[in-house]
């Protein structure tokens, strides 16, 4: 069946969709890592670390892909553990910046290790990634994320994110949860990196830098950081749209920058949101609105998802007043 799909889509779409799928995997890694309140600007680097590891194994030692994938993911896991432990006691902002520094350090280190190609990149990686494989793994990860959201670990993570002190007082081992969750995300991101390197067949130190980590963060926030399929949506949308906007290389990014800025200003809570109190998923507030209009109104209509670190609870993003007004009175 997969061959059916790939044979019938044009080459452009196959390539774009595979890219979107790989980006989604890494974005899901970010979803896990950030679910306990961390803010990682290092995921492109973690992805790269996994990629280099796996690439070395497949290219230089002829390892089979699945084994290399596992080892790469383990490297990501280890990196995640390390980063989580380092940033444990820091406030969110400083921790985020530490991850940034970590990522950049990895870039510089990779530039200087000739064994993996240094500045000339690691080339000659065999092609192992296929459409089917990518989407299979993505599906597994999304399923896992769905289960995670409803699991004890997921709740514990969200508790840590919302208020670490209270979480600890409730008996949650914050250290353990934060580390585990971050490391899981790291492993997933690394897996994404392994796929990527075995698709474009080259691995660069540059691809691990701040700009790319920021890109994944953007997928995460833009798509909706509170729900498990938000990052997937973000990655898909933001990967496919620039490709479709192919006027010319530079103009494309100029538009991308503008669109990104505009959307983030207009809808800061992300495209797909979840109301923390009611647990309803909203897409531009449409689902609850429809429900209400059709007579199935529930007590909490689609309302604002107050971002966890908003300093002023009274200020939610623009455009939310409209949603509130649309709800039932009182």
């Amino acid at each position: 069946m997969l061959d059916f799909i790939t044979d019938n889509l044009s080459g452009f779409w196959v390539v774009t969709l595979i890219a979107a799928g790989m980006n989604s995997i890494i974005a899901m890694g970010l979803y896990f890592s950030n679910s306990a309140g961390a803010l990682s600007v290092a995921h492109a680097a973690i992805a790269g670390m996994g990629a280099y590891m796996a690439a070395t194994l497949t290219t230089n030692f002829g390892w089979p892909f699945p084994a290399a994938l596992l080892v790469g993911a383990s490297v990501g896991f280890a990196a995640g553990v390390l980063l989580a432990l380092i940033t444990l006691r820091m406030n969110e902002l400083v921790a985020g910046l530490t991850t940034l520094a970590f990522g950049e350090t990895m870039v510089v280190i990779s530039f200087n290790i000739d064994y993996i190609g240094g500045a000339n990149s690691f080339i000659g990686i065999p092609l192992y990634t296929t459409f089917g494989l990518v989407y299979l793994v993505l599906a597994i990860i999304v399923f896992a994320a769905w289960r995670f959201d409803r699991s004890r670990l997921g709740y514990a993570a969200r508790a840590c994110r919302d208020n670490a002190v209270t979480a600890a007082a409730m008996g949650i081992n914050v250290t353990w949860v934060k580390t585990l969750v971050f490391a899981l995300g790291g492993a997933i991101a690394a897996a994404g990196g392994v796929f990527r390197s075995h698709y474009i067949l080259v691995q660069n130190p540059d691809d691990m830098g701040f700009f790319f980590s920021l890109t994944f963060l953007i997928y995460w926030v833009f798509g909706g950081s509170y729900v498990f399929w938000g990052p997937v949506f973000g990655a898909m949308f933001l990967t496919i749209v620039p490709e479709v906007l192919r006027f010319s290389v530079e103009q494309r990014f100029i538009m991308y920058g503008l669109i990104l800025t505009a959307i983030v200003i207009l809808r800061p809570q992300g495209v797909i949101t979840r109301v923390p109190l009611g647990g309803q998923v909203t897409l531009f507030g449409l689902v609850p609105l429809l429900k209400q209009r059709l007579g199935f109104a529930s007590a909490t209509a689609g309302g604002p998802a107050a971002p966890a670190s908003s300093p002023n609870p009274g200020q939610t993003g623009p455009g939310l007043e409209g949603e509130e007004e649309g709800g039932p009175a009182g």
């Binding site: 109190l277 309302g303 009274g314």
Partner: protein, 235 residues
């Protein structure tokens, strides 16, 4: 002096203030009493323009509608704020804190005179004028906050739980100061948890519970009322 009608303040989905009416008469002290979380701070923030009320009219000083105006304009209209705990600018010196109270008019002769006047009223401030405000004790910071608020020669002074965190002796001195300010013609609006002390000095009082006014009247009446006796004065 100040008239609030039908005030409603929301934080997200939570309604903190549900339709409050109150009035502060010129030259009088008006107290709003209530426990933590009753909504006192929300009322103050709405009056000051720091938070946008969902609904309601706020008139100051005489009939001029100020709801929706930005805080600095409301300050220029003659309102000053003594926040909970003083909230002095700890990275500025005592002197600079006082200057902030007269922001925009620091160079004028009136401001310089006012500065002198403050330092006479609170001699400790003169002593510590070059010190960073963050190094002052709690009581001293409160005094500084008073001075800062008075620097703008306000018509209405808003005190947010002025006795909070202060030693009883200092609290006494502070309420004496408040009474003195009234005799100098200042109108005062105050929120307090310490009902006993507040009712001693206030002219008029309101009882706030979960965002609604439960009782209102001259301070002596409120003091004598059964509800207050039971809940706040512990008899």
């Amino acid at each position: 002096m100040l008239k609030v009608t039908g005030l409603e303040v929301n934080y997200g989905l939570v309604q903190a203030v549900r339709g409050v009416d109150l009035e502060v008469h010129e030259g009088g002290i008006c107290a709003v009493l209530g426990v933590n979380g009753a909504g006192k701070s929300s009322i103050i923030k709405a009056i000051l323009g720091l938070v946008k009320a969902r609904r309601g009219k706020i008139e100051f000083p005489e009939g001029r509608e100020i709801q929706g105006l930005p805080a600095h304009k409301i300050n220029h209209a003659g309102m000053a704020w003594l926040p909970q705990g003083g909230q002095v600018f700890s990275t500025l010196t005592v002197y600079e804190n006082l200057l902030m109270g007269a922001f925009g008019r620091e160079k004028s002769r009136e401001a310089q005179e006012r500065l002198e006047h403050m330092m006479e009223r609170f001699p400790i401030l003169r002593q510590r004028r070059q010190q960073l405000a963050g190094t002052l004790s709690g009581g001293e910071q409160q005094m500084l906050a008073f001075g800062r608020a008075l620097m703008s020669e306000p018509k209405l002074l808003i005190l947010d739980e002025p006795s909070l965190g202060l030693a009883p002796k200092i609290v006494q001195g502070m309420f004496e100061l408040v009474a003195q300010l009234r005799s100098e013609g200042l109108s005062i609006f105050m929120t307090e948890q310490n009902a006993r002390e507040a009712l001693k000095v206030a002219d008029y009082a309101y009882l706030l519970e979960v965002g609604e006014i439960r009782a209102s009247g001259p301070a002596s009446e409120i003091e004598a009322s059964e509800a207050v006796q039971r809940v706040y004065l512990g008899t």
